[in-house]
Symmetry: D2
Subunit: 343 residues, 4 copies
């Protein structure tokens, strides 16, 4: 079977997680997130973000986290604003709109939003009451293109949102990868300070399932649990989520796994760069988008699975390679070897 670089959720969970699930399997626990593991994991997360007043909730996946957060924050006539590459716009089967809310889309090459991007959206939505009211800015870090926000960029965006009474929501499906990128100067604590709500993605970083929603803004905390239950996201055996996040947060396994994934991607990236390969975007996380000629793509396809992302011209396309917490050296080295041979 070919090794897959298609995504970072091809494998199961990190062995520590599987072990903890087994070890704690048969003791009786309260349901619906009131188990001791979930409680401990929440304490640990609050401590890591240095925010004792934060609310923490565990849900199963990213689409679920996105739709619950956005639908709970917005009033019926308010909308979200997102980069056109945002996962909520084109990869979630209209999950946000299904809760009644429009998403305004902003074209951005790098998948990142700046205050300057948002100003014209606000200016073109002032015909009260004939237009939706932009109220929440959705960003992801790392983005769907593998790019990351710097501290300065997030500070600017956060200040802009506050001035304009916009909520700032960070989709952290790949937050571990974003924060451990070699060029990142952001920290988890800063993310918590600068956003109203964000989540720590587990599914793409070593958990079987699970995203940890962190609500920093007290305005948004009230009654939030109702939304989780109403959308069908409150697991009876909440321990399944609690145990996993406890393992991920203890000893910073979460960041170690992300750092590993990034490192493996960077090895491939550097090998490609040495051979003069160009990239669709300049990324430092576990997603890379090299532009290769079709002959080489065919050759690689014989050995590996990956997505051909975008046709560049008659000779070349960008492919997407994703590494995971569990991507070993062997497939990475095999891939690099072929590149060296062929280029």
């Amino acid at each position: 079977m070919k090794f897959s670089f298609k995504n970072d959720y091809s494998e199961g969970g990190h062995p520590d997680i599987l072990r903890a699930l087994s070890e704690n399997n048969l003791n009786q626990q309260a349901g619906y997130g009131e188990d001791e593991y979930s409680r401990e994991a929440r304490v640990l997360i609050r401590k890591k973000i240095n925010s004792p007043g934060a609310d923490v909730y565990f849900v199963s996946g990213g689409t679920q986290a996105n739709l619950i957060v956005i639908s709970s924050v917005l009033r019926p006539y308010q909308c979200a604003v997102s980069a056109a590459t945002g996962h909520i716009l084109n990869n979630e089967t209209g999950a946000i709109e299904a809760t009644g809310h429009k998403i305004l889309s902003i074209e951005k090459e790098d998948g990142k939003l700046t205050p300057e991007d948002i100003v014209p959206v606000l200016e073109s939505h002032r015909n009260v009451p004939h237009q939706v009211m932009p109220k929440l800015v959705y960003i992801s870090n790392s983005t769907e293109l593998g790019t990351v926000y710097t501290l300065q960029e997030l500070e600017d965006l956060s200040a802009f949102c506050k001035e304009n009474r916009l909520y700032l929501f960070m989709d952290g499906a790949r937050l571990g990868h974003g924060l451990t990128a070699e060029i990142s100067d952001l920290t988890l604590e800063k993310v918590a300070q600068l956003t109203d709500v964000f989540y720590l993605g587990g599914t793409k970083n070593g958990a079987l399932i699970g995203e940890a929603i962190v609500i920093n803004n007290p305005e948004l905390q009230q009654d939030f649990a109702f939304n989780i239950k109403q959308k069908g996201a409150l697991l009876a055996k909440g321990r399944l989520l609690g145990i996993q996040f406890l393992e991920l947060m203890k000893n910073d396994l979460y960041f170690d796994l992300a750092r590993h994934a990034n490192r493996q991607a960077m090895k491939i990236k550097n090998a490609l760069k040495e051979r003069g390969v160009e990239f669709l975007s300049d990324t430092y996380t576990n997603q890379i988008f090299p532009i290769l000629n079709h002959e080489l793509i065919d050759k690689l396809s014989g050995k590996f699975e990956f997505y051909v992302w975008k046709k560049i011209d008659d000779q070349r396309s960008a492919i997407r390679l994703i590494t995971s917490w569990n991507t070993g050296d062997e497939p990475v080295n095999d891939l690099i070897e072929i590149i060296k041979e062929e280029l």
Copy 2:
């Protein structure tokens, strides 16, 4: 720590499930339910219900299954009909209404619906277009009160629904317990034949999470997967659900676990009956509702956790005791002993 008879989801998953998750953990699989385990589990379920054309989908929990099925089946102006005890009516934070649909409630002592119960609902909803149109009948088996449908009852209800162009949907959160009750003459195959859609509950029967939605009516199959994704229920690591249902379905572990839970409950029930205790409803599954005097309830509370369900009079209340796939003989015998001493 006190032993808990509060519910059937206090423990983790059956050891076979944990083992299978570990064994298959690191091989790479396609995401979103296209993994080999989910594929095999679907084949196995179709075989067990003898219905090769059925569609099978795995989701995380019961509220999720209920809201996805009902919102995908109904047009905006159509509604569901349920016994007043139905889980969707009072225990799911308005999850169905949040998708836009009313639920009409029918008071029933035993939590079960008959054609005679539904006729007046249809008759009082004919003022077109000023009223919602009843279109789906929601039943659960075993019910929220622990009662079960017989084959004859389900056949009658199914025929009535067909005549009246109503869809019949069975919430099977405790379907294993319903089918293995000593008084049940229903089979899984019959359930599949007589309903338009139902689900096999895993969460309350030995899985960590998971319900298997089975769609028998081809009308309801089209494009169903979109609804799962849109509601945030499509797990990236679908293997987590596939592996569990594969274990549960292989060698009928699913039914063995339910039968065990029922048997433990019946032991307690029989001990109580011998001492002349009355019950709120006459159940043969893993939920029993004995009516006890408050002194005895206090005594039991010192050793066990359970819900006091309903006050009967100044001296007595009904309590709810639930046993699970993992309820051992020790707590059952301890409980019986106390009863024997006290009554």
Copy 3:
């Protein structure tokens, strides 16, 4: 053609309204409720309720008013509470549920809610977050059964709602009739003081279309106009609503019309009472529900249109007779004459 006592919207609009529409027809006005007539009508209503800070919006009909108010007030997990006879429960095709909100129903003979009715609803909805949160109490005055609230009753309900952080919303589709009932000691000003939001119904009281929503609670005023536009209720030619309410409010035409309708109904009621006829409910507004033998009902059906409301026994049924702002003396006298002859 038979004269119809079926409802109070069988005729067009009061002649003053038709005249005003014609007189002001061709001058140019701003759209969407910014016309001078709407502005004047809003000022007049604020003056009549002695509440300069109230917000006033005009919409087309009662279902529209109900769904806009309720969906704008409630958060996704919150619900409304209503008497079982409430128009929103059974006569609006699930309009409220279609906006995502459950309605909890309370059985009441007279269609009126008291604090004592609501207490058990609150008490049985405290299993956070597994149940919807009751947040808005919906009442109508006059009710769907023709009954009315007294000042004391409304004060008690209002105080109870404040204590329990519930919003109080009065459906005033027949508010004119409620306030001008001979037994009513409520005033429009008191209604405004004691509710968070209510509306003055025009459609059933001499307008062609139109209900005036009055929002007293500042919390509920913010951004309300967006909801009106989003639900398709903002008329481009808002003048159509403004002109009508200006006519109805000037010189208290609104109350004169309602008083007339009530008076005609009371004439019939008194004639029936004199002959010993019983009524389904003791009403003092333009709806009466006399219980008649089927022979007499048949006889009346030959001359008049009305609804047979409810079968009482093999010999008798209750019928519903409704009078309007335009019900003349002739049909009323004709009806009374037949009654006198037959009873």
Copy 4:
């Protein structure tokens, strides 16, 4: 007061309509669209489109018509496709999304959609089930930019939609203007043949309120009335809509009014063209978008009301002038005179 060229709904209704409302005011009619006027108007419309099987419903306004049609046609996971200028996208406060459906936007200079525009949307939405499914094509005629579809263009689009199982829905808020444009070779009958559903706008063409939804596709007819009631659009006094459409349809008043509005706009357009003025788009209906220097715009602003639509450069902007069924010769000539003097 300045004469307004801001829109085509500044005045009330055509005098024939006001007269008919008064003449028929006091007779009693059945409610909710079952009055004799609505019945006659429906018959007349079916006759004019030569489609005896069409369903016709009257509602109050365009946003209401759009949201009812689209939400009734689409399943939860399906979406609409529209030109970026589409009224539903940016001028209806997210009314469509509030019913749960995404709208995919296509940039088009002239506001008209062709099969070629839609192909890439279909091609980029095939990642089942991760994306919404395009299912309804929304067009307007005349468009929001005043442009019109030719018969050939509509035939091509209709054939394309059929091939691709897309429903074609025409927003006819200004359908009269579209069909009576001098360059239009479309007819009402053809519109009915080539679309699945469309509406005849009354509000912008001489009615006080009212749009007539015509459903040609039998698949979409079933149970449609429920949706109208549920969205609060079913007027108790349906006669208000029926009488108006009866007047508009009798003797083709509808088309005469639209033709008049177009003619007045064309007079201005031609005068401007003679002086070499350029236009934002080449329109033949009652909306024109001349590009004028700011000095002239200021001058015109002293005498007329209109929207400055779009800044072109430092010297010039496009303005929007709209004429109505009631725009007389005087303001048109006054405007032309100023233009002739100044240019």
